[in-house]
C-alpha cells in the first residue's frame, strides 16, 4: 500500500519528529516503527524508506524488522480492532470457541480485515487479565468471561455504533 501524494509531506514531518525524538539511535528503531504504526495503524512503505534514509540504515534491515515482529503490519487495518486473547489461561477456558465464532461471524480469519474496512480481527497472547478469561478487547476496551452469546452482542453493539456514527455524519 502506498500513500497519496498529499500525505507524503505529513509523513515526512511525522518521521522527522519521531527520528529526532530518539536521536536516530539504532536501539530505538523498533520504537520508531511502533510510533509510526500507532499513528497510521500500519507501516506505509514510504515510511520505511524514509526512516532508513534518516537513520542511515539499509532498507532491507527495516523490512526485516518490520516483517519479523507480528505486531507490525504492512497493510492498513480496519476502523475497529477486535482482539481475542489466546494466551494459555484463556485457551484452557475455551478461547478457541470464541475465535472460531468470531471468524465465522466476520467472515475473515485472524489477522485479516473485513472487506468493508470496518473491523480487523487478531489474536494475541495474554493481555494480563487472565482472571477474566476468555478475554477479548474491542478498540482497547476489555470484555471478560466471553461466551458466544456475549460475543454476538458485542458485535451488534459495534455495528450499531457504526451506524449511529454514520447517521450523525449523514445529518451533518
Amino acid at each position: 500500500m502506498s500513500l497519496p501524494v498529499e500525505a507524503q509531506d505529513e509523513l515526512e514531518q511525522i518521521i522527522t519528529s519521531i527520528v529526532d525524538r530518539y536521536k536516530a539511535k539504532p536501539t530505538a528503531l523498533i520504537m520508531a516503527l511502533q510510533d509510526i504504526q500507532k499513528y497510521y495503524h500500519y507501516l506505509p512503505i514510504e515510511a520505511l524508506k524514509l526512516i532508513a534514509k534518516k537513520m542511515n540504515l539499509p532498507v532491507a534491515q527495516l523490512f526485516g524488522v518490520a516483517t519479523f515482529f507480528k505486531a507490525f503490519s504492512l497493510t492498513p487495518k480496519g476502523k475497529h480492532h477486535m482482539c481475542v486473547c489466546t494466551g494459555t489461561a484463556c485457551h484452557v477456558r475455551q478461547a478457541g470457541v470464541i475465535v472460531d465464532n468470531l471468524s465465522r461471524s466476520l467472515g475473515i480469519n485472524p489477522g485479516e480485515t473485513t472487506p468493508d474496512g470496518e473491523i480487523s480481527f487478531e489474536t494475541v497472547n495474554c493481555i494480563g487479565a487472565c482472571a477474566l478469561g476468555p478475554v477479548i478487547t474491542v478498540d482497547d476496551e476489555y470484555h471478560g468471561h466471553m461466551t458466544v452469546a456475549k460475543l454476538n452482542k458485542v458485535l451488534d453493539d459495534l455495528r450499531g455504533k457504526k451506524t449511529a456514527e454514520e447517521m450523525v455524519e449523514e445529518v451533518q
Binding site: 523498533i30 520504537m31 540504515l57 524488522v65 507480528k70 494466551g87 494475541v124 494480563g128 482472571a131 478469561g133
Partner: protein, 670 residues
C-alpha cells in the same frame, strides 16, 4: 538538598523519616488496585466515584486515594483496601464507593456485601491479611505493590526504598556486593535459574568497555504476567536492583527491554526512571559517589524468541530478533559485542532485599538449592486466579488448593502446567473423564497405567526439572477434567511454531512436523507409530536446536505423553477425546437434564437446535458444526460432548427419560 538530588544517605533518611511520620498521622487511605486485571474490570470508574463521594462528604483533605499496582487477587477485582485498618473490599463497583465512604469511613461500619467470603468455609473475612489467598503467601517482592502509588517515588522511599543502594554504594565494594549476592543463592527468575552472583562476577571479569546491564522484561510466556505487574506496581524496586548490579559489575549503561504490549508498565517505568534521575539515584555521581549509571527504556516488538538473551540483544541493536550460537557468552560479548549482563525483572527486584537484609537472612528462605520466593501467575481452571508469591520449597498442593482454592465449580483437578511453552504438564491425579456414563467404553488399555501424584512436589528449580517440567518464568496453569492434554500440547506447539524465528532447521522443521502429528492425533487420524516418532523428533530437537526455544519445545509433548499416555491412546485407538475438547472427535448432544429453558436455541449459528420453551431440546446432529456455543451457555450442564457419532444415542435415551420440569425447577429457571 540541592535541586532534589540526594548526595548523602542522611538526606535520604531525613526525607524518609518525614514521609513515614506523614503516613503515620492516621489519615485514612483508600487504596484502589489499578493493575491491568483491575483496570480491565473498570477500576478507573471506581476511583472516580471515590473522588466524587469524598467531595460530596467534604472528606477530601482527610482521606487520601491511592491507586496502586496489582495486589495479586485479580479474580476479585476491582479491589479496594482501606488502610491503616486493612479492610478488604472486593468486586467493588462505582456505585459502591459512596456506600464505603458513608458507612465505613464516616461511621466505621462494614459494607457486608463487599466483604470476602471464603468459598469453602463460608466465613466472612474482613482484613486483607487474613484471607487465605494472602495469608499463605510470602510477599517479599510483591507485597509493596499494595502500599504504594507506583508513580510516586516518595511512596517508595517511605517504604525504605533506595536504602539498599545507599548501603551498597557507600559501605561496600563491588566485590562485596557480588559476594553477598552469591552467598544469598539468588538464581535467575527468567527461566534458566542461573546463579545471579556467578553471572555478575563473570561479567565484571570480562574484558571490554563499556559494559551493559540489561533487564529482560519481554515476558513472552502466554499466560504469565508477573514481570509486568512488578514493573507496573513497583518499578523503583527493579531500577534499584539494576543500579546495585551495575555498581557491582562496573557498568554505566543500562537497558530495560520491555514489550510494547505492556503500555502501563512502559509508562510507569518511564515515570520512575525520570524520578530516579531527578533524585540522583540515576545519572552522574549517584549519592555523591564517583559512580555513574543511567537506564534507557527500550520498547520491544513482543516476540517470544526475543526473550532469549542473544535475540534480545540483537533486537536492542535494531536488528531482527534472531538468536545466535552461544559458544561466546553474552557476559563476554553481548550487546554491541561488549560484555553484557542480562537478568529478569524479578531477579533484579530481589537484589535490594538481599543487600538490605543480608544474604544470611535471604538464604534462610527456600530449599537447599533454590532460595527466596517466586512469583507465579496462577491461572486456568482455578478459583483464585491471580499472582501469588510463595517461598521456594512450598508444595504444588499448597499453591493450587490452599492459595488457589482448587478448580471452580467442584470440577476435578487434573494437571498443572509450569514453565510456559517450554515447560511440562504434570499429572497429579487422573479421574474418569466427562463422558456420558452410559457410553464409557471400558477398553483394556484403560487400566494399565498407574496414577502418578506429584502434587506434593516442592517448588524448586531442580525438582521441577527432574520430573520433566521447569520453573520457567512462573506461569502456572491449572487444568481440570475438561482440559484435553493432546490439545494442550498442540496449543503450545502451535504457539512455538508461530514464534520460532526459523533460523535453524531442527526447530523450524521439527516444530512443523510435531504440530502436524499432534493435529492428526487430535483429529482422530493418528497411528500408534506417531508416539514414537514424536519422541524421536523431540530428542533430535533437544540435541541440536540453536536456542532454548527449540531445545525445550518438546517439553510439553514429552511430558504429556509421559503422564497422559492413556489420553493419547484414547485419541489414536478409540478415536475419542475423553475431555470432549478436540472438535473433530466430539458430538454435542442434549440429555434428559434439559429444562427447556430455550437459552441455547438462538445462539446456534447453524440453527441446529430444535425445541420450544419447556420441552426437551434436541441438536440436529447433521447440522451441528461443534462450535461449542451452546455448551458454554447451558447452565444445567445438559449439553454433553460425547464421542463423535454417538450424539443421537444420547438424545434417544434423553427422549425416553425426559419429564417436563417440576415447578421448583421452573422457578429456578425463571
Amino acid at each position: 538538598m540541592n535541586n532534589n538530588k540526594f548526595t548523602s544517605p542522611e538526606d535520604l533518611n531525613r526525607l524518609r523519616e518525614r514521609l513515614v511520620k506523614q503516613r503515620e498521622e492516621g489519615r485514612i487511605i483508600i487504596t484502589v488496585c489499578a493493575g491491568t486485571g483491575c483496570l480491565a474490570c473498570g477500576c478507573e470508574a471506581v476511583t472516580a466515584a471515590f473522588r466524587e463521594a469524598l467531595k460530596e462528604n467534604q472528606l477530601e483533605d482527610k482521606v487520601e486515594i491511592r491507586t496502586t499496582g496489582c495486589h495479586g487477587f485479580c479474580e476479585r477485582g476491582p479491589l479496594v483496601v482501606l488502610r491503616p485498618e486493612g479492610t478488604f473490599y472486593q468486586r467493588v463497583k462505582p456505585a459502591d464507593a459512596k456506600l464505603i465512604v458513608e458507612q465505613t469511613i464516616k461511621h466505621g461500619k462494614l459494607v457486608n456485601k463487599l466483604l470476602y467470603r471464603d468459598p469453602q468455609t463460608k466465613e466472612v473475612i474482613v482484613k486483607e491479611d487474613d484471607i487465605p489467598f494472602y495469608s499463605k503467601q510470602m510477599r517479599l517482592i510483591f507485597g509493596m505493590n499494595g502500599h504504594m502509588d507506583p508513580t510516586s517515588i516518595n511512596d517508595y522511599i517511605a517504604l525504605g526504598g533506595y536504602q539498599a543502594l545507599a548501603k551498597a554504594l557507600l559501605t561496600m565494594t563491588p566485590e562485596q556486593v557480588i559476594d553477598e549476592v552469591k552467598k544469598s543463592g539468588l538464581r535467575g527468575r527468567g527461566g534458566g535459574g542461573y546463579h545471579a552472583g556467578k553471572k555478575w562476577a563473570s561479567c565484571r571479569r570480562a574484558k571490554g568497555e563499556p559494559k551493559y546491564v540489561i533487564c529482560n522484561a519481554d515476558e513472552g510466556d502466554p499466560g504469565a504476567f508477573m514481570d509486568r505487574s512488578l514493573l507496573e506496581g513497583n518499578p523503583h524496586g527493579v531500577i534499584e536492583g539494576m543500579v546495585i548490579g551495575a555498581f557491582a559489575i562496573g557498568s554505566h549503561d543500562g537497558y530495560v527491554y520491555v514489550r510494547n504490549e505492556y503500555p502501563l508498565a512502559v509508562k510507569n517505568l518511564n515515570i520512575a526512571v525520570d524520578a530516579a534521575r531527578e533524585h540522583g539515584f540515576l545519572g552522574d555521581n549517584i549519592f555523591g559517589s564517583s559512580f555513574n549509571f543511567d537506564i534507557d527504556v527500550s520498547r520491544g516488538g513482543g516476540a517470544f524468541v526475543c526473550g532469549e538473551s542473544t535475540a534480545l540483544m540483537a533486537s536492542l541493536e535494531g536488528k531482527i530478533g534472531e538468536p545466535r550460537a552461544k559458544y561466546v557468552h553474552t557476559v563476554d560479548a553481548g550487546l554491541w559485542d561488549k560484555p553484557s549482563n542480562l537478568n529478569n525483572v524479578e531477579t533484579w527486584a530481589n537484589v535490594p532485599l538481599i543487600i538490605e537484609k543480608g544474604a544470611d537472612w535471604y538464604s534462610r528462605i527456600g530449599t537447599a538449592s533454590s532460595k527466596g520466593t517466586k512469583v507465579f501467575a496462577l491461572t486456568g481452571k482455578i478459583n483464585n486466579t491471580g499472582l501469588v508469591e510463595v517461598p521456594m520449597g512450598i508444595t504444588l498442593r499448597e499453591i493450587i488448593f490452599d492459595i488457589g482454592g482448587g478448580p471452580p465449580k467442584g470440577k476435578k483437578f487434573k494437571a498443572v502446567q509450569t514453565g510456559g511453552p517450554s515447560g511440562g504438564t504434570l499429572v497429579v491425579e487422573t479421574r474418569e473423564p466427562k463422558v456420558h456414563e452410559s457410553l464409557v467404553a471400558h477398553g483394556d488399555i484403560r487400566d494399565e497405567e498407574e496414577v502418578v501424584s506429584l502434587l506434593d512436589l516442592p517448588v524448586d528449580f531442580d525438582e521441577l526439572t527432574k520430573v520433566g517440567s521447569m520453573m520457567g518464568s512462573g506461569g502456572m496453569i491449572v487444568m481440570d477434567q475438561d482440559s484435553c492434554m493432546v490439545d494442550v500440547a498442540k496449543y503450545f506447539l502451535n504457539f512455538l511454531q508461530e514464534e520460532s524465528c526459523g533460523k535453524c532447521t531442527p526447530c523450524r522443521e521439527g516444530l512443523r512436523i510435531t504440530l502436524e502429528i499432534l493435529t492428526r492425533i487430535s483429529e482422530g487420524k493418528g497411528q500408534m507409530e506417531d508416539l514414537d516418532t514424536l519422541e524421536e523428533i523431540s530428542q533430535v530437537m533437544i540435541d541440536t536446536c540453536l536456542c532454548q526455544l527449540g531445545g525445550s519445545a518438546p517439553n510439553p509433548v514429552l511430558s504429556t505423553i509421559r503422564y497422559f499416555r492413556q489420553e493419547y491412546l484414547a485419541h489414536i485407538v478409540e478415536k475419542r477425546c475423553p475431555a470432549g475438547v478436540c472438535k473433530e472427535l466430539v458430538s454435542h448432544a442434549i440429555d434428559e437434564t434439559c429444562t427447556g429453558c430455550h437459552v441455547c436455541f438462538s445462539v446456534c449459528p447453524t440453527n441446529a437446535i430444535i425445541g420450544q420453551t419447556k420441552t426437551l431440546h434436541v441438536i440436529d446432529q447433521d447440522a451441528c458444526i461443534q462450535c461449542g456455543a451452546c455448551y458454554q451457555l447451558c447452565r444445567f450442564d445438559s449439553i454433553k460432548r460425547v464421542k463423535r457419532g454417538e450424539g443421537d444415542a444420547i438424545q434417544y435415551v434423553a427422549k425416553e427419560k425426559w419429564h417436563p420440569p417440576v415447578k421448583k425447577k421452573a422457578a429456578a429457571v425463571a
